[in-house]
């Protein structure tokens, strides 16, 4: 079959911050790298991170006394002890270096200004003295679930600015970026991953990439849900191609985070920086409520906890009725015009343009929306995927796993360049020892089977199911039954419904011609894979009979460290099957910090050494 073949040392599937950081590591060590991206690299979802990235620099007054140890402890508590503590440790130690390195590459981090400064916390103004000897160093703001102010930022455009900084570096190093190219299947021989089959989204043509190392850095799978803050490209594409090998497990698929402040009705995110900077949540009576549920942390408890209390408060009849359902208010009016138009400028713009709300004088309608995928391609601490040599993953797409069952705000942007820096180093070590001979014949079978799949879709060989109807049905089931509060009955119903949807997804037929950059074909190719991911999430949640972090079961409200201090590994070994095989491994091999109380979010805990019930 006529097609183009590209050879490289490192193939990065995904050109957001994580993918670019690993590519920079490889290129800096003299290796050839190619980045694939669904969109021009600078349009990746990394650009949507607003508030900042956590790193224990301890420069600002409210960050004094901070250290990687404190950051590590916050991260483990935030994860509800679901994380791999070795990775959380590597992460907290590396974060300050990664922040400074980005500064060296041109990142305009906001800086400490010496002197008295006024800040807000929970609607109360207070004063702090920024030290003279810290003047001009990188400053930080407060985020949820942290003991210190640790979130380094550039206004509320941190992700955008960081992505441009790294992409400048990629440009400088001459790394090849193939944008609007989608990896549609991984190439492997059962033991080694050697690249992928990809589809050129500008022309529709298939092509082959052969690589000594392949990295999946495609972000999260938020688009399995109907109400998500995620960009339209966060459809789990990287997870699908990894899971489809039958060899690589999907780690903790059920670990899905909801962010407290999606705006109603568009689900666009307003940054946690709003609450970090002193914004409050109000109910229908325009009264605060988080200070009642969480006296210590109030609005700045972790995201899983705040989201749950918001939904609970709405259920108590305290929501604000609207044509789009009940919501609550976010109030940042007291921060004042100057603060809002500088440090929260993106929020200011999006409220005016998308809601017609002026946040200097008006309240912002908010409700929790799907936001982050803690689960992902399971890797070891080097970022190497389980099950296939030469396959790596990093960033949100990976289950590395420093977030466990809940990610702290500011730790995802941080993970991209911190893990990216570390995994990049490990990829370089792998490439230095790699003895792979790449032959074009290795791609023939993968290419032929993808080509056949496309023909069948175009010719409606398997049926004429409408791909958009299947997508809508899947997203609705996930939203209604696999959301913030979960229970066995709903989860079982979700699994049953998704299995039926999966049967239909195998019978999709195109309504259009499929020629060229055809969007219907692009979606049809990944739809069955998306439903498989959705089944993994729902089934993983059904089987996990406890509550931990964002996974909140009404019928199993306790965190059960005796039976569930572990990580789900979902394998999809047979594409004809309609359920994954679930295996489990301990959450962490090293236990620096034994399970305890988080200090926020009241939960009953069944300790590790509790006697077994019959």
């Amino acid at each position: 079959m006529e097609h183009e073949t590209f050879y490289t040392d490192l193939l990065c599937v995904g050109a957001g911050l994580a993918g670019e950081r690993v590519a920079i590591a490889a290129a800096s060590a003299g290796f050839d790298a190619i980045l694939l991206s669904l969109v021009p690299a600078r349009r990746s979802h990394s650009c949507a991170a607003e508030g900042g990235m956590q790193a224990a620099l301890g420069n600002c007054a409210m960050g004094e006394g901070d250290s990687p140890d404190v950051h590590f402890a916050d991260t483990v508590k935030g994860s509800d002890w679901g994380c791999d503590q070795e990775c959380a440790r590597i992460f907290a130690d590396t974060a300050p270096v990664a922040v400074r390195e980005a500064a060296n590459w041109g990142m305009p981090w906001n800086r400490v200004v010496a002197g008295k400064a006024k800040y807000w916390k929970g609607g109360e103004e207070f004063e702090a003295e920024e030290k003279k000897d810290k003047h001009g160093l990188i400053t930080a703001r407060a985020f949820g679930g942290t003991a210190k102010w640790r979130t380094c930022y550039t206004a509320d455009g941190t992700g955008h600015t960081l992505l441009y900084t790294l992409d400048n570096k990629v440009t400088q190093l001459g790394v090849r970026v193939h944008d609007r190219v989608e990896a549609v299947s991984l190439l492997h021989d059962g033991a080694n991953c050697i690249g992928c089959v990809a589809r050129d989204l500008k022309t529709g043509k298939l092509r082959v990439y052969l690589a000594k190392a392949t990295l999946i850095a495609t972000g999260g799978y938020g688009r399995l849900y109907s109400e998500t803050t995620n960009t339209v490209i966060n459809d789990g594409g990287g997870h699908i191609i990894a899971l489809d090998t039958g060899l690589v497990p999907f780690g903790n698929p059920e670990a899905v985070q909801f962010h407290p402040t999606g705006v109603v009705p568009t689900n666009i995110l307003v940054t946690e920086g709003c609450r970090g900077d002193g914004g409050t949540l109000l109910d229908v009576d325009e009264k605060r409520f988080m200070d009642i549920y969480e006296p210590a942390k109030a609005e700045l408890a972790s995201r899983d906890v705040v989201s749950r209390w918001m939904m609970y408060h709405i259920a108590q009849g305290k929501g604000v009725p609207s044509p789009y359902g009940d919501h609550l208010w976010l109030d940042i009016r007291h921060l004042g015009a100057h603060h809002i138009t500088t440090k929260l400028r993106e929020v200011y713009d999006l409220c005016r343009h998308f809601l017609g709300v002026d946040p200097i004088n008006q309240l912002i309608p908010v409700r929790p929306a799907q936001h982050y995928s803690m689960g992902g391609v399971r890797t070891n601490s080097d970022g190497a995927a389980y099950g296939l040599k030469g396959l790596f993953s990093c960033g949100e797409s990976a289950c590395w796993d420093m977030h466990g069952f809940n990610r702290l705000g500011g730790n995802s942007l941080a993970e991209t360049i911190v893990a990216g820096r570390y995994v990049g180093m490990k990829v370089v070590e792998f490439l230095q020892g790699a003895e792979v001979t790449l032959k074009s014949s290795m791609a023939e079978q993968g290419l032929a089977s993808m080509s056949e799949r496309i023909d069948r879709l175009v010719n409606r060989a398997d049926g004429a199911e409408n791909v958009y109807a299947i997508k809508d049905a899947m997203q609705l089931v996930m939203m209604e039954k696999v959301g913030i509060f979960r229970n066995g009955t709903d989860l079982q119903a979700a699994v049953d419904a998704l299995r039926e949807i999966y049967a239909k997804a195998k019978k999709i037929g195109l309504r259009s011609s499929g020629i060229g950059a055809n969007p219907e074909l692009a979606l049809a190719l990944k739809m069955p894979g998306m439903v498989r991911l959705a089944i993994c999430v729902a089934y993983g949640a059904l089987m996990r009979t406890e509550s931990r972090g964002c996974h909140a079961r009404d019928d199993y409200q306790a965190r059960n460290d005796r039976d569930w201090l572990n990580r789900t590994l979902a394998y999809w070994r047979d594409l004809d099957a309609d359920l994954p095989d679930l295996q489990y491994e301990p959450s962490t091999k090293v236990m620096y910090m034994p399970p305890g109380d988080r200090g926020y979010g009241k939960t009953e805990i069944i300790p590790m050494d509790a006697p077994k019930e019959d």
């Binding site: 650009c47 906001n110 001009g136 160093l137 455009g157 960009t231 998308f354 950059a517 969007p519």
Partner: protein, 254 residues
């Protein structure tokens, strides 16, 4: 009674030998808070699944969805239909290569231009992982961010007289980017070196001063100011070059 919106949309699939450039018309009932993002997706999902257009973030920060909306370049995701007449005509951005229908290839253009203007910090300073960061004034960081807010959507180029006539003009986007680096003390390039990059007819002297770029910029970046400052700076450098001819091989070229 809600309005029945009439969409006139440019259609052409360059990969399909049977496709000819033409306009298709779609009708859609207007719903509250309807944006062009929601409208185009509805048309694709309910009326014509082959319709090509680009969105990613759908919150006006990624720059994917630039298109010509009733004659004016803008971001479709942040355009509410309530601000438009009943008849809405959508065309792809000019200047960029057409992928199909409303989708254009901005990625290739911007990467080539960023490479051409060397859009990165030029420094010999090696990063020392053990050292604390160099200090910077917070006001300066804010000023750099103000220009760094560009999202490379391409609206400035689509509205630019020079860019529409000449494909070698780098446009307001690149001139703003260079201003950002001039402002940044970490970039060690000197004025003569910047002059070599943008003190040309493809650079600042290609600008005719029509300033539609500022009018259409969805990020409200002060392009008029930046173009003015850069023009004066480069004109001054040009004069200096007349009186002090360049030494051979001293300056970088592109």
């Amino acid at each position: 009674m809600s309005r029945q919106l009439k969409f006139n949309i440019f259609r052409f699939n360059p990969e399909d030998p049977n496709s000819e450039p033409h306009t298709d018309t779609f009708m859609l009932e207007e719903t509250p808070s309807l944006t062009l993002f929601i409208a185009l997706n509805k048309i694709r999902e309910e009326q014509d699944p082959s319709l090509m257009f680009d969105f990613a973030c759908r919150m006006a920060i990624c720059g994917s969805c630039g298109m010509v909306i009733n004659g004016r370049p803008g971001l479709a995701c942040k355009t509410l239909t309530v601000e438009l007449p009943q008849e809405i005509t959508l065309m792809p951005l000019p200047v960029f290569k057409l992928v199909g229908d409303l989708s254009v290839d901005t990625g290739t253009w911007f990467r080539a231009t960023n490479t051409k203007i060397e859009s990165w910090i030029h420094t010999d300073q090696e990063f020392d992982p053990e050292a604390i960061e160099e200090r910077m004034e917070n006001d300066l960081a804010n000023s750099i961010f103000e220009l760094e807010r560009c999202i490379e959507c391409g609206c400035c180029l689509a509205s630019c007289g020079t860019a529409n006539m000449r494909d070698d003009f780098v446009g307001a986007f690149a001139l703003n980017r260079i201003s950002r680096f001039i402002m940044d003390p970490r970039d060690k390039r000197t004025d003569p070196e910047y002059f070599d990059v943008v003190g040309t007819d493809q650079g600042i002297f290609g600008c005719m001063g029509l300033l539609a770029c500022e009018d259409v910029c969805p990020r409200e970046i002060p392009l008029q100011d930046q173009l003015g400052i850069l023009r004066r700076k480069m004109a001054f450098q040009g004069l200096k070059n007349i009186f002090k001819p360049k030494e051979k091989g001293r300056h970088r070229r592109f």
